[in-house]
């Protein structure tokens, strides 16, 4: 976890280049040092008002980081309030490390998405690795054992862009970093997505989602309690990670100062594993009252938030904080983003139990302070009182901005432009071949083969299908999970795009045989200070909220990453949605892959000419125009209910939702080494547009022919159109549309092209 807003971050305090001695409160004011800590002049004045005095350096730093978007959501909070957050199964909504949802049998699932975009752009391996480490700590800080990781990645084009060389480097190392951390700590990486668009060239997105399981009676909270109770630091020693050492001379960041760049946070998955096991063992003792991980803004964020949530305060003696580097200043200790650290509040007198467990696992642990009645964070260092801030001002009553929102003219014009501006190509097979080799549609096996997706031996469906499925040991249940978000639709119409992102991700989970339980999300957008970007954010959140309400999906957590821009050009607005669902009976686990030749292929949902934002459009036009596919929430809900019903009857052999690339691509991605398709589809649409339309709320199912009528009856009952379109066929890939043979290919050729495309473009 790290702060994302590149201008307002602890990491960016990297840029903070102090002279040898710390500036005085007066200098901070006069020289506007606070600017480098992310505070605006108005915010700084506000701090002075609230304190009734000038803050010193450490205090200014604490306000700077706690009032950042990442910690305070000062720009997005008004919007996030629109999300429905309650539901019968929700045990913990937004506000703690991660949301917690009941799954019965005394178990609960914990999950959350976190972004690590900026660190990954600077140092992709460590940035991605620490992103995974951070989200896993969020999960186990709630008491849960992490059982799965998912990841959602966005990059610029792999070829043909001035930054392509760098992009290939980034992708390689981001994937290596995720693999390096996840594989070592022993949590399977079971799913994700990778997408490409020029807008991400200078600003890649790296979001990770963690999922964990916890017994109800082991759920932990980050609320300090009990005046006088010990505060225990657990984990790796604190170094200058993520901070610019105060020993460096004042100087701007430029090429010559390369060697003086901030020390990048380095993840230690081995320590992460030890910390995980030590924490889980500590929870078993019942000796702990509160737990919080040290993520962004490290000790500052964890101590202030724990105190604030408990309506108490904390006093820390920094001399007791385990330190890796010499002569660390108060400021550095408080703002360090060293990884693999946690903060506990323990029952008085039970510290030795905690220390014994930590010692067994080789994890440093030390009492660094205690809970106090005054609602403040008080710091002592070198025997002196060095800082004191009121928690209400730091965490509670933080600034709030209501940004202007305006639909830009360009968006209006884009929507007016027709989506289809080309005739049917004479050779559809060549189009199909080009499409399936586009990196966004090509097989992602090159990526997920590098992830251990099987460790813990609970993975029933790993990467490659709509949703991954993880068994819940000791029960007859499983969790299905997916992370998804088509930013092209959001770009063309953020309201519809937001709705669709939620609907599609939930649909993925239903395809696996699960009932969606709840949702987490990562909102990756440009600068909220630009009205047109804020409009995107507002519209997308509105659309997401509508879909959540209609599909009865409470939002239990998420993350906001703003200011994702390169030289003023924003990324495509990218909400990433994570949904976890429950499979009630293991016999109902379903994947997207065909199982048996001769099975009937069924297409559920009507197909319309909806090509705005489609992969086909991007191939033909090289840009995105028109309206994205519509999404009717009643239809969507009916579709998901019908699908779950059919699966629960045991009538489906495979189920896949149609998404990017439409039916054409779905036919290929459901195929296996030996099983392809023989399709004959009657439609009123132009064959190419029919095949690659991205109309929402559609499914491709395979079923034994004897269940055809039963399955049709279910979908009709739910008011949905469905039609048999062919059969699963051995080794062939044959597609007729409107009696016109448009594809008649060797299955193995197509699969090879699809499977090798990504590696070819990466390794070229």
């Amino acid at each position: 976890m790290s702060v994302q807003d590149p201008r307002v971050t602890a990491s960016f305090l990297n840029e903070l280049l102090f002279p040898m001695t710390e500036p005085t409160p007066e200098q901070i004011k006069a020289e506007q040092v606070y600017l480098k800590m992310g505070l605006t002049p108005a915010e700084y004045e506000d701090v002075v008002q609230r304190l009734g005095r000038l803050p010193n350096l450490t205090e200014t730093g604490i306000f700077g980081v706690m009032w950042s978007e990442h910690c305070s959501y000062k720009n997005s909070r008004p919007l996030l309030g629109r999300f429905p957050t309650e539901g019968p199964h929700v045990l913990q909504g937004p506000g703690e490390g991660a949301g917690v949802v009941d799954i019965g049998d005394g178990w609960a699932v914990v999950f959350k998405v976190e972004s690590h975009n900026h660190p990954s752009a600077v140092e992709p391996h460590q940035g991605a690795a620490t992103g995974v480490g951070g989200i896993l700590r969020d999960i186990f800080s709630m008491g849960a054992r992490p059982v799965a990781i998912l990841n959602s990645l966005r990059f610029g084009p792999l070829q043909g862009d001035p930054r392509s060389t760098r992009t290939r480097y980034l992708l390689n190392h981001v994937v290596g970093g995720i693999a390096g951390y996840g594989n070592c700590i022993g949590v399977p990486t079971v799913g994700g997505e990778v997408d490409f668009h020029p807008s991400y060239s200078g600003n890649p997105l790296v979001n990770a989602m963690g999922v964990g399981l916890v017994r109800h009676d082991r759920i932990q909270h980050g609320r300090a309690s009990g005046v006088g109770n010990p505060v225990i630091y657990v984990g790796a020693a604190t170094g200058r990670d993520g901070i610019h050492g105060a020993t460096f001379a004042s100087e701007e960041l430029n090429d010559e100062s390369e060697s003086k760049r901030p020390s990048v946070q380095v993840g230690d998955p081995f320590m992460g594993k030890l910390l995980l096991e030590a924490c889980l063992e500590c929870y078993e003792t019942g000796a702990l009252l509160a737990v919080q991980d040290m993520g962004a803004a490290g000790l500052t964020c964890s101590s202030t938030e724990m105190g604030y949530k408990g309506q108490l305060g904390m006093e820390l003696n920094l001399d007791d904080v385990p330190q890796r580097a010499e002569n660390m200043s108060t400021y550095e200790i408080m703002l360090s983003e060293s990884q693999e650290r946690m903060l506990f509040v323990a029952h008085p007198g039970r510290e030795p139990e905690v220390f014994a467990i930590c010692e067994k696992w080789g994890v440093p642990a030390k009492t660094v302070g205690h809970v106090i009645a005054d609602p403040v964070l008080r710091l002592r260092h070198h025997g002196e009182a060095v800082a004191e801030v009121p928690l209400e001002e730091v965490c509670g009553n933080t600034p709030l901005y209501r940004r202007d929102s305006r639909k830009p003219q360009a968006a209006e014009e884009r929507q007016q432009e027709p989506a289809v501006q080309w005739d049917q190509p004479s050779e559809l097979r060549m189009v199909f071949r080009s499409l399936l080799q586009r990196p966004e549609l090509a097989s992602k096996a090159w990526v997920y083969r590098q992830y251990d997706s099987m460790v813990r031996t609970c993975t029933e469906v790993g990467p490659g299908s709509d949703a991954a499925v993880i068994r819940v040991e000791g029960t007859n249940k499983a969790l299905a999970m997916s992370i998804d978000g088509n930013s092209r639709y959001v770009f063309l119409d953020p309201l519809i795009g937001g709705r669709t992102a939620v609907a599609e991700c939930a649909r993925n989970v239903v395809c696996a045989g699960a009932r969606p339980l709840a949702l987490t999300n990562g909102l990756n957008f440009g600068s909220p200070e630009k009205p047109e970007i804020f409009w995107q954010l507002e519209q997308a959140v509105t659309g997401m909220s509508e879909a959540c309400a209609a599909l009865k999906l409470p939002v239990t957590g998420g993350n906001v990453s703003l200011y994702n821009e390169t030289e003023g050009a924003p990324i495509l607005p990218t909400p990433m949605i994570g949904v976890v669902g429950l499979v009630e009976d293991l016999s109902q686990v379903t994947s997207q892959f065909f199982q048996q030749a001769g099975d009937t292929l069924m297409l559920v949902g009507k197909t319309h000419e909806e090509l705005g934002g489609s992969a086909y459009q991007e191939l033909m036009l090289g840009r995105l125009t028109g309206k994205p596919p519509e999404l009717d929430l009643d239809t969507e809900r009916a579709l998901q209910e019908g699908l779950l019903e059919a699966i629960q009857h045991g009538w489906l052999r495979s189920a896949h939702d149609l998404s990017h690339g439409g039916l054409g691509l779905a036919l290929l991605t459901c195929s296996t080494e030996s099983l392809g398709v023989n399709v004959s589809w009657q439609t009123a649409l132009r064959p190419d547009l029919a095949l690659f339309s991205e109309t929402q709320s559609r499914l491709l199912l395979s079923l034994a022919p004897e269940h055809l009528h039963e399955v049709e009856a279910i979908f009709r009952k739910h008011g949905l159109f469905c039609e048999p379109i062919g059969t699963v066929a051995e080794a062939s890939f044959r597609v007729e549309v409107r009696d016109q043979l448009v594809l008649d290919e060797s299955l193995s050729d197509l699969r090879r092209l699809w499977q090798e495309a990504l590696a070819e473009q990466l390794e070229a």
Binding site: E123, G239, G245, S259, S263, V264, V266, A325
Partner: protein
Amino acid sequence: MMKGMVTVMLKQDVLDVQGQAIQHSLHALGFEQAQKVRIGKSIEVELEASTPEEAQAQLKAMCEKLLVNDVIEDYTLQVQEA
């Protein structure tokens, strides 16, 4: 023919997870006198170059382009005739 040796170490303030772990293991094996351990890479490159200066310059370019990740690493160079 010249032989270059590049020694790549993590920058001072960057956490050296391997070094830390190995220091621990050395202590466990009874080598208490090991105070600080840092682990880096040695890269030996045989080069066609006519002078040591030329080899040095080439190596430097290789370090900058590929061998060293200057966000987290520093390096030193040595060249000798092979």
